[in-house]
Subunit: 291 residues, 2 copies
Amino acid sequence: MTEARRDNDRRAAAFVPGHVTGFFSPYDADEPVRAGSRGAGVTLSDGVRVTVRADDPSTASRLTLDGTPLSMPPVETVLTALDAEGAHVVAESDLPLGTGFGVSGAIALGTALAANHALDRGRSANDLVALAHRAEVLAGTGLGDVVAQARGGVPIRLDPGAPPHGRLDGVPATRRVEYVTFGGLSTADVLAGDTDSLVDAGDRALSGLTDRPTLSGLLAASRRFASRTGLPTDRVRGVVDDVVDTGGEASMAMLGETVFSLGTGLTDTGVDADVCRICQTGAHLLPPDRS
Amino acid sequence: MTEARRDNDRRAAAFVPGHVTGFFSPYDADEPVRAGSRGAGVTLSDGVRVTVRADDPSTASRLTLDGTPLSMPPVETVLTALDAEGAHVVAESDLPLGTGFGVSGAIALGTALAANHALDRGRSANDLVALAHRAEVLAGTGLGDVVAQARGGVPIRLDPGAPPHGRLDGVPATRRVEYVTFGGLSTADVLAGDTDSLVDAGDRALSGLTDRPTLSGLLAASRRFASRTGLPTDRVRGVVDDVVDTGGEASMAMLGETVFSLGTGLTDTGVDADVCRICQTGAHLLPPDRS
């Protein structure tokens, strides 16, 4: 019997970092665990804490996010796969949902980690990542966030899919990150459009980054991807241009009406940005005293 | 130009967790990057901080560990591969060298991460891990620590070797870990002995753990491996037996005259043990203000 279950009977908590994608190429596949995206982005020390209670009579809600009950199909899929339909999930997020921070993937992955631990399901880390990735792909809510969030740091998604299919590398880096969001963009709408040009622009960006995997290279490749795909709104384009004109580095978070910058890029231009760091730690269980 | 280089000209620091192996199967290969071991262990929040200065006229020493100059062939190999022969490496360790904590691998990997950053070499995370792993294999100082330390958590080494050859999974877990060491054992002597029986015992342990990847399963598999291979000294066997008799979980660190336990296993038996936690973070650069 583990420490967690002695201290907090059938309850466990996990932290999952936020993730902003700089560029991506979507890849479909018959098996959801092989589908996903290639691309690169930055994981954030701002993220989501997910607590799973095996049975909590104090609430009828299956899932709350920052106190508000909601329904998220990927969370349902994860709980069903872990035979945890009676569990209750409490998510607390530093980041807004649906604006390009991977909050949906974070809740799915955090639920998988915490439910596995609370209910002693004995799944491996790769199994839980694959389960959450598959749930996100099936729901159409994410293609690459979960595998990136499981790794932490600055993940490069060399091949799409979850373990054992996907393949990751990373940019070794530590840095302050700033971000500002103006709202959401529909991933489904973008993926319903011309994905051939997305794949072409994403693969070109990836090839440039793997030649020289640095943070500056990631941001430059992300801006070229944004420009080629025409995804930024006028507002996002204006903010990114301001940062670059001030000598900073910024790009758009795919997919949200959201800008992220390195260092003090956004605040240097007078934007009231949130501040965090690159998250060196991938998704992980929290010790019982912090759960 | 990155934040790190603005604040600390051509200097960078990295943290690499300690790693105790519970069981392993050594695998040789013509290419060192494909050689290594299968097995499993626990990474520790106690570890090694490595600072690399591109050029430091204040010291003639290439490498110091806790203030003492020393020579480590893997570090030389790493610096040469990064064209960083003029660099100086300062390592500070929470853990003793040569007693089964992966300190040698930690210094090699920390040197790779910090030298790449200080000298702006633009290598990817996988490249740096492969470089440090290869250096350890060539020197005969480690077979699986580097890839485990790069991951953090509780790494399961499914296939030997560094990226892109090796394959990892993990036990999702958070836990207090205690350890005590009585001295070193020679890895080279053990590997010069009957490796067939090591491979057999290691593969049996791995198969048992992957069937149900839990911390308790890891410790039980590690004790069976220790018993089958006869590697524990009388003193190590006595301490492990005491912990198990008290209802705790402990095993021997491969390879050192070292015992590690979960929770308060060692202190519950009156052993004056060091205390840390499973390290959720793999090897990573430190922010400039902490370097």
